[in-house]
């Protein structure tokens, strides 16, 4: 048996004209398949809404309170594990240095002064190299190259400022600006 267009009308819950309704009624008298479709459609549309037992909100509040306590406990444990773990790791890495410092403080003090002097002398050497380059380079580099270099620097600066501005203006999903 041909169920078209009746099956489509029933499946799409089409609003029927009086002529279409008459045609459908005639078809339903002879078609078991479409009668079942129509009956299930009616049954679905007349189905009622079931409400929960009284006191649902109170039960939810109790459950939420339990959940919050569990969440707090979980966070506390997490924090403790993190702190103890961090302290242990720090101790593990720092132990040789602490041991050296405790066993021979003079040796450690000499090494620190030597390191400090090395940084100072390196900085002095770097300053001299830069001053020599600053005296020599202007004679070698043409003025238009300087212009290109300074323009590129300005461009990068602008790009950086715009990206910072855009990132700082972005709002999280679902939160209105």
């Amino acid at each position: 048996m041909n169920h078209q267009p009746f099956e489509d009308w029933l499946l799409n819950d089409k609003n029927l004209t009086s002529t279409e309704k008459r045609e459908l009624d005639l078809h339903l008298r002879t078609c078991v398949h479409c009668t079942a479709l129509s009956a299930t459609g009616l049954a679905l549309r007349s189905a009622n809404v079931i409400a929960p037992a009284a006191g649902f909100t109170v039960r939810f509040q109790e459950r939420l309170a339990i959940q919050k306590v569990a969440e707090r406990r979980r966070k506390l444990w997490g924090m403790m594990v993190l702190l103890i773990g961090g302290a242990g790791l720090l101790g593990w890495f720092a132990a040789p240095y602490i041991y050296t410092f405790i066993s021979s403080p003079v040796e450690w003090f000499t090494a620190a002064i030597g390191y400090f002097l090395f940084i100072i002398t390196s900085l002095q050497a770097l300053t001299q190299v830069v001053s020599v380059l600053a005296r020599i380079l202007p004679d070698f580099i043409p003025p238009y190259m300087w212009m290109v270099f300074i323009s590129a620097l300005a461009g990068f600066g602008l790009l950086w400022t715009i990206s910072i501005w855009r990132f700082s203006r972005r709002t999280p999903q679902g939160v209105s600006a």
Binding site: L10, L11, V32, H33, A36, L37, A39, T40, G41, L42, A43, L44, R45, S46, A47, N48, V49, I50, A51, P52, A53, F56, T57, R59, F60, Q61, R63, L64, Q67, P172, Q173, G174, V175, S176
Partner: protein
């Protein structure tokens, strides 16, 4: 801004009282969806409570451009689908058991219906009984369509499907329900026939 949105915003800012208002407003639709999906009041209660807990925990992710009800029912539907998937083989059997192993009291299909029970009531019971035979996602689509008057686009958004997928799922589910309906009609007719008087 409507009252509901004000509650949502207050709840997002950490007000438990505002969220309680939302629970009071939506307890029935959420419970009904869970009941239609899971078929048992106890399971539905637990699922509805879990839905509100999840909504509370993820409220900061709610997009205010969407209706709150759609977001909430979407959480409920996904939770129920996951739960049904986990309990696929034990759910709805005649010896159905809950997580603790207690058996449910299922209605005896052979017991005579009291006369006071209306035909409409029987039809509703039949529909609930047939819903359990549908695929979980198809069932969610049918419930959203017929209990909540959701459009195909809204169902698609809630169930993370395409509109055409929703349409085909709804058609398939409706045909399946009609098939089950027909089977029951045939069975009822066969059972009735031996007791019928030839005079009628």
């Amino acid at each position: 801004m409507n009252e509901e949105m004000a509650w949502v915003i207050q709840a997002q800012q950490g007000s438990d009282e505002a969220f309680t208002h939302l629970v009071e407003t939506y307890q029935t639709p959420v419970f009904n969806l869970c009941y239609r999906m899971l078929g048992e009041p106890d399971l539905a209660e637990d699922a509805a409570q879990e839905t509100f807990l999840r909504a509370f925990q993820h409220l900061h992710r709610y997009d205010q451009k969407r209706p709150f009800a759609t977001w909430l029912l979407s959480i409920a539907a996904h939770y129920c689908i996951d739960r049904l998937r986990r309990r696929k083989f034990s759910m709805f059997s005649m010896d159905a058991e809950d997580d603790e192993g207690n058996t449910f009291e299922l209605p005896d299909p052979d017991s005579p219906d009291p006369e006071a029970e209306s035909v409409k009531g029987q039809t509703r019971g039949r529909i609930q009984g047939m819903l359990k035979d549908l695929d979980n996602t198809d069932r969610a689509a049918i419930i959203m369509r017929y209990w909540y008057d959701y459009s195909e686009a809204e169902i698609a958004e809630s169930l993370r499907l395409t509109v055409s997928a929703v349409k085909s799922r709804l058609h398939r589910a409706r045909k399946e329900l009609a098939g089950l309906w027909q089977e029951e009609e045939t069975r009822a007719e066969t059972e009735r026939r031996p007791y019928e008087s030839p005079a009628f």
